[in-house]
């Protein structure tokens, strides 16, 4: 069953088209990644999907409920961690969770039980009665997540959930997303972190200048461009770029003291590099074949912007 359906969404701000005819379906229980460079329209799209913004054209359906016609019913189905969605710093972690729960009509007993479990899971139990203003950014984000999932939503929207977090908080956030998904929750997340999207998402959608440029599972997207495979090699001496000239190599880059040779035929390039080393008296310090990368596919699809 389709959990989220976006149909021909369009949103303009003045003369700028922020979202241009965007359509996609997200299946129930799926983790769906929404990637794009800065200003591509990710946040506007998530605001349209969560009912914070009204589209100029198009429709959003949440679990079969038309968001435009029944916004409150649709919002009851979702938990949202907005991009600028800070929690109330003058309230405690517990008060923030209670506030969120009350909006969803949860009773005090259920709220008590649910909040205690979440506070423990997110490592905030000891600090539950402290004002959020005394918390670090990572702890605030954990409170934000707790507020978004307090009512066990069917769909969880996360806008850049790990942006600027320390490693521990980032891991905890990812672990929580995975746990929610294991219980059947559909996850829609926007992220800049392509590696994170690669690991977490079953499908990713890439948006650029308000338009969808690709939508598929990460492995298929990686293979969209044959040349996203590469050989990484370093020698004991400096060599010139011209040395590698070959029909099998589509692009040559450097990364520190290493050369990156992009190809659709790694086997031939490895043999070519070994032959070159022998011929020119070079010693190979390291040589690695790198599989197709989602990052490279992303960069190509979005015209070289990250």
């Amino acid at each position: 069953m389709v959990a989220i359906r976006a149909e021909s969404l369009q949103k303009k701000f003045g003369k700028i088209i922020a979202v241009d005819n965007v359509s996609f379906d997200v299946e129930e229980g799926e983790i769906f990644g929404f990637l794009g460079p800065n200003g591509a329209g990710k946040t506007t799209t998530i605001r349209l999907l969560t009912g914070i913004l009204t589209p100029d054209a198009g429709n959003v359906t949440i679990e079969g409920i038309n968001l435009g016609n029944n916004p409150i019913e649709a919002k009851m189905m979702m938990g949202v961690i907005p991009e600028t969605g800070n929690v109330y710093v003058d309230l405690t972690a517990k008060q923030n969770m209670y506030l969120a729960g009350k909006y969803y009509g949860m009773t005090k007993e259920v709220l008590k039980k649910k909040s205690e479990g979440l506070l423990s899971h997110l490592g905030l139990y000891e600090r539950r009665n402290d004002h959020v203003k005394t918390f670090s950014k990572g702890m605030r984000q954990r409170v934000s997540i707790a507020c978004a999932i307090i009512h066990s939503p069917n769909i969880l929207f996360l806008d850049e959930p790990t942006e600027g977090l320390d490693v521990q908080s980032r891991r905890l956030v990812i672990e929580t997303i995975n746990q929610m998904n294991e219980t059947g929750c559909t996850v829609f997340l926007t992220t800049h972190n392509i590696e994170e999207a690669n690991k977490l998402c079953e499908r990713v959608c890439i948006i650029d200048k308000g338009k969808i440029v690709a939508i598929d599972n990460p492995e298929k997207l990686k293979n969209t461009f044959d040349e996203t495979q590469s050989i990484e090699v370093s020698f004991n001496k400096k060599v010139k770029r011209d040395l590698f000239a070959s029909d099998f190599i589509s692009k040559i880059d450097t990364s520190g003291d290493k050369w990156l040779l992009y190809t659709n035929n790694p086997d031939k390039v490895v043999k070519h590099v070994v032959a070159l080393a022998e011929k020119n008296g070079l010693r190979i310090i390291s040589i690695t074949t790198c599989g197709p990368s989602l990052e490279e596919a992303f960069v190509r699809l979005t015209g070289g912007k990250e």
Binding site: T50, G51, I72, K75, M76, N86, L99, Y103
Partner: protein, 248 residues
């Protein structure tokens, strides 16, 4: 949307506002001290009958307390980055607006009641019509809390801008509403201006409730205040919808 979900949203928003923005020592102290300063500033040393001054003074207290914090809530929320989270909850713009109005009304009602009790203890005045007084307080707090919310509708991120804008609108009202010069004595432009101020009708109702002479019949005061409440809420809703994303 069912009415129970709507009402729940309004009450939770009001509770949130009271906890975060009203239930603060500086706000409460200012709320109580402000009428005291007003009393000293405009009553002490002047040869004015208490029965003439008191209705205007109480109306002024209610007016300033009900409309004091409302204009700042949305700019504060936008500045703190909590507004988008608030809108992501199962609420509509109307829910948020009414929640702000309910919180402002309660604050205004409580502070005005305390001031009224203190006045009753220390000053010699008679309540001639308690029903009129209570209706006036309810309608007045709703009206001026709605005005406060309307003043927040430009929806900028900077509370200081709204503060200036709010003062620019609110302060002139006290001079054209029969507080310092009784309505009966107002002539010409002053009289015409007084008709467009909602505060005029509240002052008039307080006069009726506290044994003074009212200019308008009770029904007129009542209907005009209801009209202003509806008007402020309607315009606030339009502006809020238009400026929702402004300043995020």
């Amino acid at each position: 949307m069912s009415s129970s979900v709507f009402l729940r949203g309004v009450l939770v928003t009001a509770e949130k506002n009271i906890k975060i923005y009203y239930n603060k020592a500086p706000v409460l102290i200012f709320g109580l001290l402000f009428p005291l300063f007003m009393f000293f500033a405009f009553y002490m040393g002047r040869k004015i009958e208490l029965s003439v001054f008191l209705p205007g003074f109480l109306a002024m207290t209610l007016f300033f307390t009900s409309s004091s914090v409302g204009p700042l809530i949305t700019p504060w929320e936008k500045q703190a980055g909590t507004y988008e989270r608030l809108l992501s909850f199962p609420v509509s713009v109307n829910t948020v607006i009414l929640g702000d109005v309910v919180a402002g009304s309660l604050f205004g009602f409580i502070i005005t009641s305390v001031v009224m009790i203190v006045c009753a203890i220390f000053l010699d005045f008679v309540v001639t019509n308690i029903v009129v007084l209570v209706v006036a307080m309810i309608l007045g707090t709703l009206c001026f809390a709605s005005l406060g919310v309307l003043l927040a509708s430009p929806s900028v991120r900077s509370p200081s801008h709204i503060m200036m804008f709010s003062s620019l609108i609110r302060f002139p009202l006290i001079f054209i509403s029969g507080i310092f010069i009784p309505l009966q004595e107002l002539r010409g432009t002053g009289r015409i201006l007084s008709y467009i101020s909602p505060l005029t009708y509240l002052v008039d109702m307080f006069h009726a409730g506290l044994g003074g002479t009212s200019v308008f019949p009770f029904a007129v005061d009542l209907l005009v205040l209801i009209f202003f409440i509806c008007g402020f809420l309607f315009i606030a809703t339009l502006f809020y919808k238009r400026n929702m994303m402004k300043g995020l």
